[in-house]
């Protein structure tokens, strides 16, 4: 049997397939529809220090081979998360990575400090790249700010820190390098692409927030290219995200240099997709007589 284990920072994953933040709720939503224990890791919906109402409706709209969303990080805030969601997540027996976001470095710091004390949390993903919150530019659009946020979090926690990057930048390698320099254990990319859509009959934007984040199969080739560029220029693991709908897509990201992948939008279409992707990767390894999943990472062959 092929060996699917991989390691991200201190986290040992039994396979490289993770459920992406914001697309898998707090896992419980999927408990009746899939075997959660078979997923490599689960990244929860981003939490913030204080509760957030999120954006006005409509919050989602379908586009060609994709979707736009502008949820706006709606969440109950840290305290409610710990009280209501954490007990269930602690019992899952799967590495649970908590996605956090803040309005400033202090908020990231406080959240990381509090999460650091919780034993059952495997790691923290820094969502510095959500395009749907109102502020002057994203942290992930500035190398210096990225460095500072990651550095502050790194100082306070020994847990695995993953920095989630935005594709809405000129040079993603530079931002990834800043995260690496600041001590991030891994980077995950890409978050959604900033986009918009207009209803031509009503002339109104299709999203209440006007702009939103584009995800789904339409972004995959750009995401694969970005993962490829980042993976060959940094030394920490890269987690590939963007339009994975099946195991073939996951393998493509790994051949481009990803150590693991996250499945996002596809969870909305098929709640069992993470587990199916694990099975598909196993079949691929068997078919190609590859012993360890590690052997395909960055395995693209150039002519």
């Amino acid at each position: 049997m092929a060996i699917l284990d991989i390691k991200i920072g201190k986290i040992k994953l039994k396979n490289p397939v993770m459920a992406a933040s914001g697309t898998f709720g707090y896992a419980r939503e999927f408990e009746k529809l899939t075997d959660l224990s078979l997923i490599g890791a689960i990244i929860t919906k981003t939490i913030t220090l204080n509760p957030r109402q999120g954006n006005p409706m409509p919050r989602i709209c379908e586009t060609s081979a994709g979707m736009l969303n502008a949820i706006g990080l709606q969440n109950e805030g840290f305290d409610n998360f710990i009280k209501e969601k954490m007990p269930y997540l602690s019992r899952l027996g799967v590495p649970v990575i908590i996605s956090i976001s803040g309005n400033n470095i202090d908020e990231f710091f406080i959240l990381a400090k509090r999460l650091d004390k919780i034993k059952s949390i495997a790691g923290i993903e820094l969502n510095i790249s959500c395009p749907n919150i109102k502020c002057e530019g994203l942290v992930a659009q500035d190398a210096k700010e990225t460095y500072e946020v990651v550095k502050a979090v790194r100082k306070i926690t020994g847990k695995t820190v993953i920095t989630k990057l935005s594709p809405n930048v000129t040079d993603v390698v530079k931002i990834a390098g800043a995260a690496e320099d600041a001590g991030s254990d891994a980077v995950s990319l890409v978050n959604t692409f900033l986009g918009m859509a207009i209803d031509i009959d009503t002339r109104k934007p299709k999203l209440g927030n006007i702009t939103g984040g584009l995800s789904g199969p339409c972004i995959k080739p750009i995401a694969v290219r970005m993962v490829y560029e980042v993976a060959r220029n940094i030394d920490i693991p890269v987690i590939g995200i963007g339009g994975i709908m099946a195991s073939d897509d996951a393998i493509e990201f790994m051949l481009a240099g990803a150590t693991a992948v996250q499945i996002g939008t596809a969870n909305f279409v098929d709640p069992g997709i993470c587990v199916k992707t694990v099975r598909g990767i196993e079949n691929y390894l068997r078919k190609h007589k590859i012993e360890k999943i590690e052997d395909i990472i960055g395995g693209m062959e150039q002519k």
Partner: protein
Amino acid sequence: MKDIRAKILSNKKTGHAYYKMVIDAPYIARAAKPGQFVQIKCGENSGPLLRRPFSIHKVERGIEILYEVVGIGTRILAGKRQGDFIDVLGPLGNGFSVPRAQGLKPRAIIIAGGIGAAPLVYLAEELKKKKIKTIALIGAKTKNLILCEKDFKKAGAEVYISTDDGSYGCHGFVSKLFHKILKTSESKFMTVVYVCGPHGMLRCIADICKERNFECQLSLEERMACGIGACLGCVVNTISGNKLACKDGPVFNASELTW
């Protein structure tokens, strides 16, 4: 709830602009209650990407959905044939709650606007089983868009019709018909109103119910991605904050909503 690959038992055009599809999904049929819905993957890999929500219309041979072709998803669905397979996730959502007698005998008034009739037929059948007196008001733009008149009658409801253009039944909106019915009907009942239809109509009916102190349960329609409470795409504003149409709804008590 389960995600089932189910066979289509039939898919036929009904009336002027609507389709009825019967899907072989015994688990969903057994588990469902009126007002709940299913998420159907209309296309295969060629798209559309997201599933589409459909309320459960009937549960006879499997589950039945009643739908209108409004976009690419429903257009593909309308082209499906008997024997084809589709992915159906359900039953989802909370569903209607059937009134319980508290002193006065309960009476249900069902109000359907256009395709809003879809979930209400299943409800009427359930109310019949519970032996609750039911009045059904069906409204649509014009005569050939009136849906489910026979179904409501078969479920034992006293049926009244209204059309915006007066081509059938009472002339005007269904809210006008509602006023009229209330004037002439007896009031010795504990009335519960169940309504599904366009947003403006829901508000109007909710206002009338508030004046009369009737409980009013509305089935809301929102765009949604996952249908299971994960994406937070289908938020409804209520007096107790954001709720989700897919998980906390689609049925809400009118008194909860902040509109």
